[in-house]
């Protein structure tokens, strides 16, 4: 049997037992429900919000004229006017004071509350201006038709200019870093818990009488990674399946490269951190003790995420460039830089090379720690013990 077959056997076991476990299925169902609810709610509430309703009190002939003009233009301002006629100007002002209406239009002018909707004010001001201008133009000798035409010029032709390629990827970059961070944490802890449960059930001693520790370690990292990818894939499928047909969101063509990069760096980042989590977990015998030994990795990961965010603020800056070549940071920074068009080809190649090298090193190191600590039961070992074990 070659060296890779045991890895695959272990991975397959992790995968099939994981898929069968109630906890995994339950968490998948919950996550899919959450995503589905979010997708449905955002579709239902998305799109053009209906016009906002504004109440207007009027009194007097001038006010009636302006209101008539405003009612013709209300849709352009995203407003629907609800008008009530008051017996006197004082009554109209009182309605504003009592917050029964948003504004009052009287012979004295416009009255509003302190937080008047600017769109409503603009609508009424422009309507008043139009009424006044129309009256002046008619006095100057124009027919009503001519006056109206003079006041309703053709609207400006407007076009939307797309930002240049790359710049639009900013949001995607932050989102990618966040998703990667969350996925690495949850997958990493899945590996850790699987390592510990094998140790607490003591089955690890039998397994290690048959295969080498690094084969077991690699198989567990691989199996839990595949399990996590299936989970994410199913959730993404449901989310996109609901959202895409609605036209509520669309995937720009340029995202394909970013998605591929996010995926590649996710795999690299997960293997890197997954091995670290497995080695840390092998130091303890009970799930309760895992906090202490996985904490340094979590701190590294959180620090990495924060630094990655800082780096993405300035994707062509020094921090971003350095982070590209630091294995704990690169997975969260590189796809983001690429999405913003700030990653040179050589930087990508060098970053990938450094990443692969770091993974080879950490697999060996984690394998050594794992090998020497996984058969020790009882009190958790400290990181110093682990370092000593790895050197021996």
């Amino acid at each position: 049997m070659n060296g890779r077959q045991p890895i695959w056997l272990v991975a397959r076991r992790e995968l099939s037992e994981g898929l069968r476990s109630r906890a995994w299925r339950a968490s998948l169902v919950v996550q899919i429900l959450v995503v589905a609810v979010i997708a449905v709610v955002s579709i239902a509430s998305g799109g053009d919000d209906g016009p906002s309703e504004r109440k207007l009190a009027i009194h007097g002939a001038a006010a009636t004229q302006i209101e008539a003009k405003a009612s013709g233009a209300e849709a352009d301002y995203g407003i629907r006017l609800e008008v009530r006629r008051e017996p006197s100007a004082a009554a109209a002002l009182l309605a504003v004071r009592d917050e029964e209406v948003d504004a009052a239009l009287t012979g004295a002018g416009l009255a509003t509350g302190p937080d008047a909707d600017p769109a409503l004010v603009a609508l009424l001001q422009n309507s008043a201006a139009a009424v006044a201008s129309e009256a002046r133009l008619r006095r100057a000798g124009l027919s009503p038709q001519q006056a109206r035409e003079a006041l309703e010029p053709r609207p400006l032709r407007t076009t939307v200019v797309q930002p240049p390629e790359g710049e639009g990827g900013e949001g995607l970059a932050y989102l990618g870093a966040l998703l990667l961070y969350i996925a690495i944490i949850s997958f990493g802890y899945a590996v850790a818990s699987s390592v510990i449960s094998e140790k607490s059930s003591r089955v690890v001693e039998i397994v290690l009488s048959a295969i080498r520790p690094e084969q077991l370690l690699s198989g567990k990292v691989l199996g839990n990674g595949l399990l996590g990818l299936i989970q994410i894939g199913l959730i993404a499928l449901v989310g996109l399946g609901i959202a895409l047909p609605s036209g509520e969101i669309s995937l720009p063509d340029s995202t394909a490269e970013t998605v591929v990069l996010v995926f590649v760096y996710f795999v690299l980042g997960y293997v890197f951190y997954g091995c670290a989590f497995a080695a840390a977990a092998s130091l303890v015998s009970r799930q309760e003790d895992s906090q202490s030994t996985t904490m340094p990795i979590l701190v590294l990961l959180i620090g990495g995420y924060l630094l990655a965010n800082a780096a993405l603020n300035q994707p062509d800056g020094g921090l971003a460039t350095i982070a590209t070549f630091l294995p704990p940071l690169a997975p969260m920074v590189v796809p983001g830089r690429a999405a913003q068009g700030e990653l040179a080809g050589w930087e990508l190649l060098l970053s990938l090379a450094v990443m692969v090298l770091a993974i080879l090193l950490i697999v060996r190191l984690a394998g050594r720690i794992y090998e020497r600590s996984v058969l020790r039961f009882g009190a958790p070992l400290t990181l110093r013990d682990a370092a000593r074990l790895a050197r021996r």
């Binding site: 049997m1 045991p6 056997l9 272990v10 076991r13 037992e17 476990s21 094998e198 059930s201 003591r202 089955v203 690890v204 001693e205 039998i206 397994v207 290690l208 009488s209 048959a210 295969i211 080498r212 058969l375 039961f377």
Partner: protein
């Protein structure tokens, strides 16, 4: 002197302050059941882990058919550790196939062997159940099946019958001795129960304080084993 299948020579092992093994040597031939007895902490488990290679000796050598034992040969060992260990949520049948596969048995042969052992140990109707749903006695049977399912060349069994009721001891003991005689496998077997060692083993070693204080074929040991044991462990 004919060469024995498994030879242990002058094994030493220390843990920090305590001496676990202090120069242990013995040999086991084909089809021979070698049982060693000793009080808790005598070094039985350390000895077995060294044979298995999950633990390294400080000095001394384990030889298989005349040569230092290697990784490939060690994978041909059937092992039952004192601390029982199975995947609690994994189904019995799948677990046996998985273990056989880890030892390099092909899929079809692994299934055949797993079925055969579940049949012989009376747990065939439990094949689809997770191990944790079985009684402790039946889990012990699965544990023995795990040690035997890959057709090992050597068996290393740490306290194989502890925690079993007399019926369980009879059933597992018979299945084990029958397989050992049939395939002529050497067996290293530890126990703290003298009667079990007397009943099943061809040779006996008494281990105390990290040393083998007495050993020989069962019939060569004069007097009752209990007396020899008391005498040997008193020092």
């Amino acid at each position: 002197m004919s060469e024995k299948a498994l030879e242990l020579e002058d094994l030493h092992k220390r843990y920090e302050e305590t001496v676990a093994l202090d120069g242990v040597s013995f040999a086991v031939g084909d089809g021979e059941l070698f049982g060693f007895v000793g009080p808790n902490g005598a070094g039985k488990t350390t000895l077995m882990r060294i044979v298995l290679g999950v633990l390294a000796a400080d000095s001394g050598e384990v030889r298989w058919r005349g040569a230092a034992i290697g990784a490939e040969q060690r994978r041909r060992i059937g092992y039952m550790p004192e601390e029982r260990g199975l995947y609690p949520k994994m189904r019995v049948g799948e677990q046996l196939v998985f273990m056989a596969r880890l030892h390099g048995v092909e899929e079809a042969a692994a299934r055949r062997e797993a079925d055969s052992w579940m049949e012989r140990l009376g747990i065939a109707e439990r094949a689809e159940e997770p191990v944790e749903a079985l009684s402790l006695g039946n889990q012990q049977r699965v544990q023995l099946a795990v040690a035997l399912v890959h057709k090992p060349d050597l068996l290393v069994l740490d306290e194989p019958f502890s925690g079993l009721d007399p019926d369980g001891v009879d059933a597992l003991g018979e299945a084990l001795t029958e397989e050992v005689r049939r395939r002529r496998i050497p067996v290293v077997f530890s126990s703290h129960q003298l009667d079990l060692v007397e009943r099943f083993c061809d040779s006996v070693g008494i281990i105390a304080g990290g040393r083998l204080v007495a050993s020989g074929r069962r019939e060569e040991i004069k007097g009752s084993l209990a007396e020899v044991y008391r005498e040997a462990t008193r020092r």
